[in-house]
């Protein structure tokens, strides 16, 4: 785009050396961008390169990094006792948490798109939980679902159901976080709702005239026209899932009841029974709990490779993320 504009400009203008006003403009552009360019260099490019370098070293922050070749990666793939558990847990969130949350958001958005009266009130009710600070919503959920006096199990008991141990049971801790994910699906819901309301009404009418029933209209009119937004929600959901950290770490720490001030998350990690140990928490603990920064960098490089593959997919699919898109 830029190049065509340039060549057109060249063809019509007299071939002179860059005029003073153009040089001035370039300088101004550079001034506008200077802080950001510096920021990208310091907080993005350099750390990426440094992470790769650290991943080949033994480094504890006190003495300088010491080159050990591929030893970190060897340990990662053959000996690390928890990296597999952590990877599988993270994968669980990618495969279950993302689709359930997105699907639920889609259903609610569909209902709201059809409710004409008081739509603002409905929207606010379903959106507001997404605003609650994640730490607050996790602490609230651990309380609501606590097996002793938690309201959820008491309400279940009214119906004669004996509730599970939720955040204190390795089999139920991840599903409990999925319930939390459903409660905070509001921002995805708003994006999907906007997309649903953008579907031209005439298309539904045309489908009706062709004799399409309700489900057929969803299949042949709604889904095709919102599929880019749905895919956007899914991919950003996957990116959120591979770095799933706060909810799991706080749930472990609060549900265990053993958190100690200033201890971070090290001693309640993955509670109960490593069921909430995600990859990024494992990275955090190896890096900042035991200060094995070299080894944690190897974990970070692996995470980067996975994230980069997902990003490539995303960048190729979305016009909004290309320089020309989203106009």
């Amino acid at each position: 785009m830029t190049t065509t504009a340039r060549s057109v400009g060249r063809a019509t203008a007299r071939p002179t050396r860059p005029s003073r006003s153009r040089r001035r403009r370039n300088l101004v552009t550079l001034a506008l961008l200077a802080p950001t360019l510096l920021g990208l260099a310091i907080f993005f490019v350099y750390p990426l390169i440094a992470s790769v370098y650290y991943s080949f070293t033994r480094f504890d922050l006190i003495s300088p990094p010491q080159w050990i070749g591929l030893r970190n990666y060897e340990y990662l793939f053959t000996q690390d006792p928890n990296v597999w558990t952590a990877t599988l847990n993270t994968l669980w969130f990618v495969v279950i948490w993302v689709p359930v949350k997105t699907g639920f958001a889609l259903i609610v958005a569909g209902l709201l798109a059809r409710a004409r009266r008081a739509s603002g009130v409905w929207r606010t009710i379903f959106y507001l939980p997404a605003l609650v600070p994640p730490v607050a919503s996790v602490v609230a959920f651990v309380f609501l679902f606590n097996p002793g006096t938690g309201p959820v199990n008491q309400v279940l008991a009214w119906f004669g159901i004996k509730g599970p141990l939720w955040f204190n049971d390795p089999a139920w801790s991840k599903p409990s976080l999925v319930l939390l994910g459903i409660w905070v699906m509001g921002d995805i819901m708003i994006i999907l709702l906007a997309a649903l309301l953008d579907v031209p009404r005439e298309q539904y009418e045309a489908a009706s005239l062709d004799g399409a029933g309700g489900l057929q209209k969803v299949r042949y009119v709604t889904l095709p026209s919102i599929s880019p937004v749905l895919l956007f929600a899914a991919v950003t959901g996957v990116i959120a899932a591979i770095q799933y950290f706060t909810e799991a770490a706080v749930a472990s720490s609060v549900a265990s009841g053993k958190a100690v001030v200033g201890e971070g998350i090290g001693n309640t990690l993955g509670y109960p029974d490593n069921s909430l140990l995600t990859y990024t928490q494992w990275l955090y603990v190896r890096g900042f709990g035991t200060y094995q920064l070299g080894y944690a960098s190897a974990l970070a490089v692996l995470l980067f490779i996975v994230a980069a593959v997902i990003l490539l997919l995303l960048l190729r699919r979305f016009k909004a993320f290309t320089p020309e898109g989203a106009q």
Binding site: T29, L33, F44, W122, F126, A136, K258
Partner: protein
């Protein structure tokens, strides 16, 4: 959904949408039933969505001994829980830390990111495509990937144990904010900025006199996002301040609150509500720009 236009007369009729065709009674009944079913589902879901807030609030005004019983209704209402939390932990200090973090981060982000977003949206220059791609990647990459070298830098500067490592980088541009601001700036027709240039304005003049006034809602939305993200941040404070409770923001303090006080759910829920209230108040004041902002993050693929 079945609709009136499904009646046999509809396709033959010359008018685009025949209004007054009598719908067969069975169809009308089905529509009414469908309406009732949809609203019943909505009402049940809405009740389920609101109920956590109700239970959390009720518990927040229970005495600590009552929270250990099965009763769900406070008896008596212990409103003083909301004052007690301020004396059991340095809550005022934590709120001040959160406010400092969120306000400074937002202000710094605006200073650095508005000009960058303007350049990306309104000026043609070589390399803008590469730069924009880099910003997108920086925005979407998990922060854990780059966390270690950045932590090493801040520890060499002696700033770990404070919130500055989370505040200062915003002076050098925030990727997500630049992305969002650029999306807003693109919605301003180029004719306005071109006209301002012809009138003799430099780029700073165009930005200040034309783009900024027109993009106020977008800038407000971006600022609110930044404010909320900093207010809610857990990972950053865990990384940099976990060993120094005096520097904790309130969201991080809440996460370690229960550990100190055993099972005092009453106080914990009071604090949970206190952490959330500022966010909700800001949301209600700025609802319109905010919802517009969320929609723009997922725009039109």
């Amino acid at each position: 959904m079945t609709s009136a236009t499904l009646t046999p007369e509809a396709p033959a009729s010359p008018a685009p949408r025949p209004r007054r065709i009598r719908t067969p009674r069975s169809l009308r009944t089905r529509r009414v039933l469908g309406w009732i079913a949809e609203h019943a589902v909505l009402i049940v879901l809405a009740a389920l969505f609101v109920s956590p807030v109700v239970f959390v609030f009720l518990t927040s005004v229970m005495s600590s001994s009552q929270t250990l019983t099965a009763s769900l209704w406070p008896q008596p209402f212990v409103w003083s829980n909301y004052l007690t939390v301020f004396t059991t932990v340095p809550l005022a200090q934590w709120f001040a830390n959160s406010a400092m973090y969120a306000i400074l981060a937002t202000a710094f982000m605006l200073i650095s990111s508005v000009p960058a977003a303007y350049a990306l949206a309104k000026i043609r220059f070589r390399g803008s495509g590469v730069l924009f791609t880099a910003i997108i990647v920086a925005m979407l990459l998990p922060p854990q990937v780059t966390a270690i070298p950045i932590y090493v830098m801040w520890s060499q500067l002696g700033l770990t144990g404070t919130l500055w490592p989370l505040i200062l980088p915003n002076l050098l541009g925030d990727a997500f904010s630049i992305f969002l601001l650029r999306q807003f700036f693109l919605t301003i027709p180029t004719e306005y900025s071109d006209a301002a240039r012809i009138d003799g304005n430099g780029e700073f003049g165009v930005l200040w006199r034309v783009v900024l006034p027109m993009a106020k809602p977008g800038i407000a939305a971006t600022a609110i996002f930044m404010f909320f993200n900093s207010w809610n941040d857990y990972y950053g404070p865990l990384l940099y301040t976990s060993e120094n409770p005096a520097a904790w923001p309130v969201a991080y303090g809440l996460a370690s609150f229960r550990g100190v006080h055993g099972t005092d759910w009453g106080l914990t829920m009071a604090m949970t509500i206190l952490v959330t209230v500022p966010v909700v108040i800001i949301f209600f004041f700025a609802q319109r720009v905010f919802v517009e902002g969320i929609t723009l993050t997922g725009v039109k693929g």
